[in-house]
Amino acid sequence: MVRHSVGGAPSEPAAYLTGWPLADATACARYARIGAGPRRRGAVERSTLSNGATTLDISSVLFFLLAIGVVGAGLAVVTVRNIIHSAVAMMVCFGSLAGMYALLGAPIVAAAQVLIYLGAISVLILFAIMLTQAGDANLPAPFHRQGPIAVVIALVIFGLVTWAVVQTDWGVAAQAVTANVEAIANSVFTTFALPFEIISFLLLAAIIGAIYLARRPEDDERAG
């Protein structure tokens, strides 16, 4: 990997980012941990030769920043004691994921993530928390008794999936390919027209079900 000196590059932000030491250290630590060092490093060097060093390294730095945002906020969601703080950490996690979708060349999915998750679902969850919060200062213990077992099961899930991912030779391009919005729209309304219609029906059923569930019993008596 090409290294530029930090001092000689104030006029070139790309070269400055390339020399950022933390991203390289994190990358090496991660590759060493998942045991895929030689193959992955070879892929990085190949794409460096074909595409130039600066673009690849900027996307790597962005990837590691967003990955830290996603994983750190996710950990905060499940460990923080106050549930309002959990919801705010969840919004940070969803925002970082939207950035990751944009980095993957899927701007339409990033926009949908911001609209649906950050705009709709987060607000819905915050409303639910405010409707149900007891308001007393002494918060109850956040975890069940089976917390340690849950840690073990979650680590087993993560380990198995990571092992499968690292073992598989995907045979893929080294660079993300940008998804054409027009092509996505075409396939939504032609190839996947039936799932699209089923989803519209599902949303209607969800609206009716939510109205029915959230209604108080005394509303029925008052209505008739």
Partner: protein, 101 residues
Amino acid sequence: MGLTGYLVVSALLFGIGAFGFMARRNAILMLISIELMFNAVNLSLVAFNAFLPSDTNTGAVFALMIMAVAAAEVTVGLALVIAIIRTRQTPEVDQYSDLKE
């Protein structure tokens, strides 16, 4: 960054969501953990779509559809949770033991 990095982040987020669903006592936080797992799956789908491109962009389309399903799920789930909390006066799921007693 290659496909492996995105998939490892996705697996990590799914593990975090699974832990939160199993270990937390608050019903609303269990729903939030389910959302984290949905997002982990979405991330892997979009990553596959970017690195293994297809003519129909199946990964991106199904990520959008999973978002719609997640919105429907969280709507009904939160309505259920609010209805339960209204009758039981607590969001702690280990207090919901009427059927056991």
